[in-house]
């Protein structure tokens, strides 16, 4: 299991059988979302604070390379020259982490905040959304460089491109208003080839994650501030109101458990909700083990046997919790760093 430990700039690799740490890989500032290549040999994590993507070699549990998601800027937003970038040859860097880090150059967190990740079906392109730049970047993973960028028009006050997923031949992105805000967000459908907009739909405030359900032709959105998970159909043009699950407050990550069930990670409720897609209902379960509450679940990944979900409890004390899906009980607690965010399970690794 790979856990992005945003607070400590690392990916933690944990052996799912023993719970032991297999590796601790320093990757860059604020690692968040994680995606795994189709062949399971490579893992990518968005370095929100380093304007880069970290590419991890799954076999060796090591950082293979970093890829900038936007060029190193010459100027600040106010137009002034960033002289240290010239003085230190920053324009050849592949991450801002070389200079901008704890104890390094200010600001500690640099760049446009890459956040949402989506791999192309063939695993050769990585789509990256940015929180600060209303922009998608397409990385050519063979060449190791930016292939193209697409600017996204704001949707009212919603300018931050939070999440990205693919449904059939379309790429869907969720935009939110800079926080704090209770203004509604927007879901935008893009042509997967051209990234041209097709349609835009209103959604709840502060969308957190997208989960495409290709077998159902649906896509789910967690609306963090509106406390709902909305379900949209392929081709949705926003003319009809989508079905929404009343998740427990603060839904964030979404995990498909099987053909009919999705797990919602309810950050503010210290709970998870089982969303029944056929029954269009939700059941909420507090995150507790031996009478102890666990705070702020962010994301989860399905175990390789599909019998349990590994949940990141992202309080200041970090925990990776194993939720047995049959009994719906927490059966294991692995200590991780506080303020962690994402998790991915890659079966078959022998550390």
């Amino acid at each position: 299991m790979f856990i992005s430990q945003a607070g400590s700039s690392t990916l933690l690799v944990v052996d799912a059988q023993s719970g032991e740490t297999a590796a601790r890989i320093e990757v860059g500032m604020l690692p968040h979302n994680i995606v795994v290549s189709p062949d399971r040999r490579t893992l990518y994590t968005a370095l929100v604070g380093s304007q880069a993507i970290a590419e991890i070699d799954v076999a060796t549990l090591s950082l293979r390379r970093t890829l900038l998601t936007a060029p190193v800027p010459e100027r600040r937003p106010d137009g002034s020259t960033i002289q240290p970038h010239f003085d230190q040859g920053a324009f050849t860097a592949t991450t801002c982490f070389g200079c901008h880090r704890s104890g390094g150059a200010e600001p500690k967190y640099a760049g446009d905040r890459p956040f949402g990740l989506l791999l192309s079906p063939d695993g050769r392109r990585l789509y990256v959304s940015h929180l600060r730049a209303s922009r998608l970047t397409v990385l050519d993973l063979d060449a190791g460089q930016i292939e193209s960028t697409a600017s996204l028009e704001p949707a009212g006050t919603a300018t931050e491109v939070v999440a990205i997923d693919r449904l059939d031949e379309e790429i869907w992105v969720a935009l939110r208003t800079p926080q704090p805000s209770t203004e509604p967000g927007a879901l935008r459908r893009l042509n997967a080839d051209t990234l041209e907009p097709i349609a835009e739909l209103p959604i709840g405030a502060d969308p957190g994650a997208l989960l495409a359900l290709p077998d159902r032709g649906r896509i789910l959105v967690s609306n963090f501030e509106s406390n709902t998970v909305t379900m949209h159909e392929a081709g949705d043009d926003g003319l009809s109101a989508p079905f929404h699950f009343e998740a427990a407050p603060g839904p964030l990550g979404l995990l498909s458990l099987d053909a009919n069930r999705v797990l919602s990670l309810d950050y503010y409720s210290n709970a998870v909700s089982f969303l029944d897609l056929d029954g269009e209902s939700a059941q909420t379960l507090p995150l507790e083990h031996d009478g102890l509450p666990y705070a702020n679940p962010t994301n989860a990944a399905l175990s390789s046997d599909g019998q349990s979900a590994w949940i990141v409890s992202s309080g200041t004390d970090g925990h990776l919790l194993q939720l047995d899906l049959r009994s719906r009980r927490i059966v294991r607690d692995v200590s991780i760093d506080g303020l962690s965010f994402g998790v991915a399970v890659v079966p078959g690794i022998v550390p």
């Binding site: 430990q5 704090p180 102890l292 702020n296 309080g315 200041t316 970090g318 962690s340």
Partner: protein, 660 residues
Amino acid sequence: MRTKLNLTVAATLLLCHSLAACGDGGSSGASPGSGGASGSNGSSGASGKGGKGGGSEPPLVTPAEPGTVYGIVTDIGTGAGVPGAEVTGGGRSTTTDEKGTFSLEGLDAGDLTLAISIEGYAPAFASALVGDTTQPVLARMKKQGTPQSYAADTAQTLSEKTEAGPYAVIFEPNSLDTDDTNLTVSITPLDPTKERDALPGTLTAGGKTPSLLIPVTFAEFTILDSKGKRVNLLPSATAQVELPIPPQLRADYPLDTKIHCYAYDPATGKWEDFVEGTVQLSTVDGTSPVLAASVRHFSWYGGAPQGNNCVDVYVKVVSAVDGTPLGNARVEASPGTTTYTDADGNALVRSAVGSATSSYVAYQTGLDVDGSLTGMAGAKYIEFGKVEEDLVGLVQKPCTGDPSPTPGQKNVRGSEGSPVTIEVGRVTGVLYEAVAILTAGDGSTPGQIQMQIREGVPGPDGTIEDPVPTSGAKVLFGEVGGTDAPASLTEIAPGTGLYLAAAGAKITPGKLYSVSVDGDGNGSIDGTGTAFALGTVQWTNPTDGDTVSSADFTASWSDSGTKLGGAAYAPVYEVVISSASSTGDGAIYLGTEREFSVKSSAMPDSAGLPPGSYTGTIIGFSGALANGGVTTSNNITGVGVTGLFYSLSTSSSPITFTVN
């Protein structure tokens, strides 16, 4: 501990049944069982075992009472003990006595979080590590902000104005979990540059690899219904809060900065619900930079980004009575980590480096075996000491991970070879109140610092009743981060309680200075505070006799402190422009900028000043200074001491100018 109280205080104390009951420092000299011996003399059989030397395992202290904590609850604003507070934790509860002390027994070993409550104060929380011996607890409470009425079915912004700016909560209608519409809201501000010891819990992102969080701005929000029951947000509701960035930290957190925000969760004893807040201008006054964030639970709330640079500091805790190293003392670096001393009184703590100074507090419990110290055989007591300074020359390292030895570290203060010594002395019931004024030199005249100290027994509200001047105090002051050793202030004459620096004190405009107060002169520092030395403030636009245009009138002024002051030098200026006629129009500015766009306070729609003659005055101040209309927190804090430490500068005389 020697007798030091003057006759007036002593007479007051004699009204009590015993000196111990009144909590004075009544006995004289070190004696068996005194603070100097506790923790290392083995009076209860724990001799020589000591603590774990900077570790986090339960230490061994005297007296050896398994599963027991003994502590004191104090008011962060007055330094006085808080009597009558309910203390709950580990399935036990008790109430503090008249000195603010308490004891809980029969606790399970391990981490313990104590919840402390009493009407008129924001809820407080303290922690301890319960083990084989009695563990010390020190909890600081903050007086609750002014209660304000709120009708729960309305959208409303409530605020509490402080010298740093307005603390605010913005309610949506019907967002609270109550049918009662007659509510009372209290916003309790907490400026971490003055009162961070009152923050509950430990500000760390914990887990496998602890990482320090640096407090920036905090507040506690209490909402009570008409029956006095605590009310919170509906599970699905949010509210916006705005917390001012303290002047000293504004350079570090400019507008649009994202700051990690947390809410304290009493259920877990941790800071949780991490979200990002944004620094923006206050929606209440339109000028103060505030941290705006969305909250889901009203509790203690605030912003605390992860630390960038830290230093690992060796600390030695000794008795103020005889210098004996004290094992098993709890040591708290702030902002920083908490640990316990080993048998030789040594500990290693991690402290964050930043714009605010660092403080190091040590305390422990003791048992007065023969009653020679407290007047009551077998009485428990608390010893406390504090040091506040920025340590120079220590190797900086990332704030992630546990404190560890630093290879190649030079032998500077705070290193292993030259630890920071914290002398601890017994906490008594006597309260010291200090007011210190810092005046910078200007080349022709030397600087000066003067401090008035008074003492007495606190009344029910925590303030001293019938205060009398304090003689025999030890007061140190020095430049924070400077190379010179702190200098002593001298009482100008016995019995006056007025302490001055030696003539010709070097006090530089723009520099940060600290004061340390040892009220009873026993060697342990009871409280500390910091303030910047104000420079000379002068009008630059307009100047005396000028004529300015109303339409684009921007008032500005200079401050000589900016030449040498760093980015953290951020005095608060109060600028008052008044009509020389009887129109009553004018303008007022309160903030840290050195200019502002002048608009009429009487005319609507931000109109300029009407033509006429006006006068203008500027007052700049740093530290804690009571100023009409705003809530000011004392900035000399500790245990058994409180006070104001400030520096002040005014434009030489009011200017007169004309607006056309």
